[in-house]
C-alpha cells in the first residue's frame, strides 16, 4: 500500500516539476534580489523589516497560487484526460490515489518553500550582514506557511474530486481569503443574532483559520512565537487537512468515471 502511495506521490511531484512549476523560483529569486538591493539603499532600521515582510508574504502567496492551480487539476484533469482509467484498473485503491496526489503536491510545495527560504535568508544576510538571534523565528513563520499550504492543497484536492477546475479554483481561493479573516468572521458572528448568528458561527468554525498561521508581522518585529502556538497550529493544520482529505476520499469513492 505505501509503495503505491509513494509511487503516485513521486509521479505527481515529477509532473509538477516537468510542468515547469519550479520556474516560479526564478521569479521569486528576482523579486527578492531586487527588493534587497533596493531596500539596502533606503534608511537603516527598516530594511530587515521590509525584507522579512516582503519575503515571507511572497513565499506565502506564490505557494498558495501554486497549491491552488495544481491542486484543482489533481483529480479533475485526470478524469477529463482519462489517464485515470489505466491507473484505477490496477490494484490501486481510490483512497490511495487521493493520498498519493496530496503527498506529491505537498512535497512539491515543501521543496519549493525550502528554496525560497534560502532566498529570504540570503536577502536578509545581504541587507543586515549578519544574522541575529530573533531570526530563528523566521523558520517558525515559514513552517506555519507550509502548514497553510497543506490546508489549501487538501481543500483544492477536495474540490477537484467533484467539481470543474474553474469552480474549484474559485472555491479554494474564496476559502483562502475568508480563512485569512476567520477570526473576524467569528467576531461578526458574535455581533449577529438569530439564524444569521448560527450560520455565521458555523461558517466561522468550518472555514480554515489562516490568521492563526500568519505570524509574519510579529516575526518581522522580532517577536518570538510561543511553543504552545506552534503545537496548536500543527495539530490544527493536520486535523483540518485530514478532514478535507476524508471528504475528498468519500466523494471520489463514489464517483462514476464517465
Amino acid at each position: 500500500m505505501n509503495s503505491r502511495i509513494g509511487l503516485i506521490a513521486s509521479n505527481t511531484f515529477r509532473e509538477a516539476v516537468r510542468d515547469r512549476v519550479l520556474y516560479n523560483l526564478i521569479a521569486f529569486a528576482l523579486l527578492m534580489s531586487g527588493a534587497a538591493i533596493l531596500v539596502g539603499q533606503i534608511s537603516i532600521d527598516i530594511e530587515r523589516l521590509v525584507v522579512i515582510n516582503l519575503g515571507l508574504t511572497a513565499v506565502s502567496l506564490f505557494g498558495i497560487v501554486i497549491a491552488i492551480f495544481i491542486g484543482i487539476g489533481l483529480v479533475s484533469k485526470e478524469i477529463e484526460r482519462r489517464t485515470l482509467y489505466t491507473v484505477l484498473s490496477r490494484p490501486v485503491r481510490r483512497w490511495e490515489f487521493i493520498a498519493g496526489k496530496f503527498m506529491g503536491l505537498a512535497g512539491t510545495l515543501v521543496v519549493n518553500t525550502f528554496f525560497m527560504a534560502i532566498g529570504v535568508f540570503g536577502a536578509l544576510l545581504y541587507v543586515s550582514h549578519h544574522f541575529q538571534a530573533p531570526d530563528r523565528w523566521l523558520l517558525v513563520a515559514l513552517y506555519f506557511i507550509v502548514l497553510q499550504f497543506l490546508i489549501i492543497t487538501s481543500l483544492a484536492l477536495f474540490f477537484s474530486s467533484f467539481s470543474s477546475p474553474l469552480m474549484s479554483a474559485v472555491f479554494a481561493f474564496a476559502l483562502f481569503v475568508i480563512g485569512t479573516f476567520a477570526e473576524d468572521l467569528r467576531g461578526f458572528a458574535g455581533m449577529a443574532s438569530g439564524v444569521a448568528r448560527w450560520l455565521a458561527t458555523g461558517a466561522a468554525y468550518l472555514v480554515p483559520n489562516f490568521s492563526a498561521l500568519n505570524v509574519i508581522s510579529s516575526v518581522a518585529h522580532q517577536q518570538p512565537v510561543s511553543g504552545q502556538l506552534i503545537l496548536y497550529n500543527t495539530a490544527y493544520a493536520l486535523i483540518y487537512t485530514t478532514m478535507a482529505l476524508c471528504g475528498a476520499v468519500l466523494i471520489f469513492e463514489r464517483r462514476n468515471l464517465k
Binding site: R93, R94, W95, F181, E183, D184, G187, F188, G190, M191, Y205, N209, S211, A212, S217, S218, A220, H221, S226, Q228, L229, Y232, N233, A235, Y236, I239, Y240, T242, M243, C246, G247, V249, L250, E253, R254
Partner: protein, 309 residues
C-alpha cells in the same frame, strides 16, 4: 461492486472526529492568541499605508477594523482592563479607511476620552479623531456634538465645548439642542440638567448598543445623584426642625417632607443610614454615581454597562 464500505466507514468517522477536533483546537488557538490579531495593529506603519495596501477594498477593511475595535473594547471592558492601548489605533485605521463611518467617531467620542476602566483615557487623541471626522464630514452635526461632549465631559473645558456646539449648531439639520448647549456652557456648565441633556442627546442619536448602554448608565447615575441630594436635603431639614435624625423614610413622610417611598432608577428602595446618609441598595449596579455610595466604597474592577451584566 459498490464503493468500498470499509473505506467509507473509516473516512466518515475520521471526518467527524477531525471536525470535532478542529473546533476544539480553534477554541484553544483563540486562548493562546487572544488579541494577537489586534496587536498587529501596532505593526501597521501608518493608517495611510494600510489604506494603500488594501487595494481599493477600503470599505470592507474599514468594517473589519471597526468590528475588531468593538470586540476589542467590549472584551477588555468585561474583563476589567486597566488600559486600552489599541482602541485609538484601531479607530484611527477604521476612520482612515472609511472617513464617513460616523458610528466609529461616536464610539471614539464615548470611549476614547474617559478614564479607565470606562475608556482609554486619551482625550487628546479623541479630540484629534473628532477633528479629523469634522474635516471629512463638515455637514454632519454629530461630530461637532461629540467634540463638544469630550471638552465638556472629560476635559471640563467649557469654552472649547461651547465653541464646538456653536459650530455644530450652524450646520443644516443640526439637533436643536446644540444651540442651547452652547449657551449653557457659559453659565450652567455644572448644572445637572446640562449633563442630563447631553446624555439624552447621545442616547437618542446613536444606533450603537454600547454607546446607548453607556449613556443610559450615566443618566441613571445622574438621577441617583439628584435623588440622593434631594433626600439628604430633606433629612437635614428634618433634623433642623425635629432635632434628631429620622430613623426611616417613613418619618420623613409623616413629617410631610416626602411623598411615597423613594426608589432608585432600577426600582429598589434607598437606604437611610443611622448617620443620616442616603445610600443605594446595590451601588455596583450604578457606575458613574458620585453620591449614594457608602464611605470607602470601591467600584468593582469589572464595571457594568448594563444592569444585567
Amino acid at each position: 461492486m459498490r464503493a468500498s464500505r470499509q473505506t467509507t466507514l473509516i473516512a466518515s468517522i475520521l471526518l467527524v472526529a477531525c471536525l470535532g477536533g478542529s473546533v476544539l483546537l480553534l477554541r484553544g488557538l483563540d486562548r493562546v492568541r487572544s488579541g494577537a490579531t489586534l496587536e498587529e495593529v501596532l505593526y501597521v506603519p501608518s493608517p495611510q499605508a494600510l489604506k494603500r495596501m488594501s487595494l481599493g477594498y477600503d470599505g470592507l477593511l474599514a468594517d473589519i477594523y471597526w468590528t475588531r475595535a468593538v470586540q476589542y473594547f467590549g472584551t477588555k471592558f468585561h474583563s476589567g482592563a486597566e488600559h486600552y492601548d489599541l482602541l485609538a489605533p484601531l479607530l484611527e485605521i477604521t476612520t482612515n479607511l472609511d472617513p464617513h463611518l460616523i458610528v466609529a467617531y461616536q464610539y471614539g467620542g464615548n470611549f476614547l476620552a474617559p478614564k479607565p476602566p470606562h475608556g482609554a483615557g486619551m482625550p487628546q487623541r479623541a479630540i484629534q479623531l473628532m477633528e479629523y471626522g469634522i474635516r471629512n464630514n463638515p455637514e454632519d452635526w454629530h461630530l461637532y456634538y461629540q467634540l463638544g461632549f469630550i471638552y465638556y465631559m472629560d476635559l471640563k473645558d467649557y469654552e472649547d465645548a461651547a465653541d464646538a456646539f456653536a459650530r455644530g449648531s450652524r450646520v443644516p439639520n443640526a439637533h436643536p439642542w446644540l444651540k442651547l448647549l452652547s449657551g449653557y456652557m457659559a453659565e450652567r456648565a455644572g448644572d445637572i440638567n446640562t449633563a442630563r441633556m447631553m446624555w439624552t442627546t447621545t442616547f437618542e442619536t446613536t444606533y450603537d448598543k454600547s454607546i446607548k448602554a453607556n449613556a443610559a448608565a450615566h443618566l441613571r447615575a445622574l438621577e441617583v445623584d439628584e435623588d440622593v441630594t434631594k433626600l439628604e436635603g430633606a433629612v437635614a431639614r428634618y433634623k433642623e426642625r425635629i432635632g434628631h435624625l429620622p430613623s426611616s423614610f417613613g418619618d420623613l413622610a409623616a413629617a410631610g417632607m416626602l411623598r411615597g417611598t423613594p426608589r432608585d432608577p432600577l426600582g429598589n428602595l434607598y437606604k437611610l443610614t443611622s448617620d443620616g446618609r442616603v445610600e443605594l441598595q446595590s451601588p455596583d449596579d450604578f457606575p458613574f454615581v458620585e453620591k449614594g455610595t457608602p464611605p470607602g466604597y470601591v467600584p468593582p474592577k469589572v464595571p457594568k454597562f448594563l444592569p444585567t451584566d
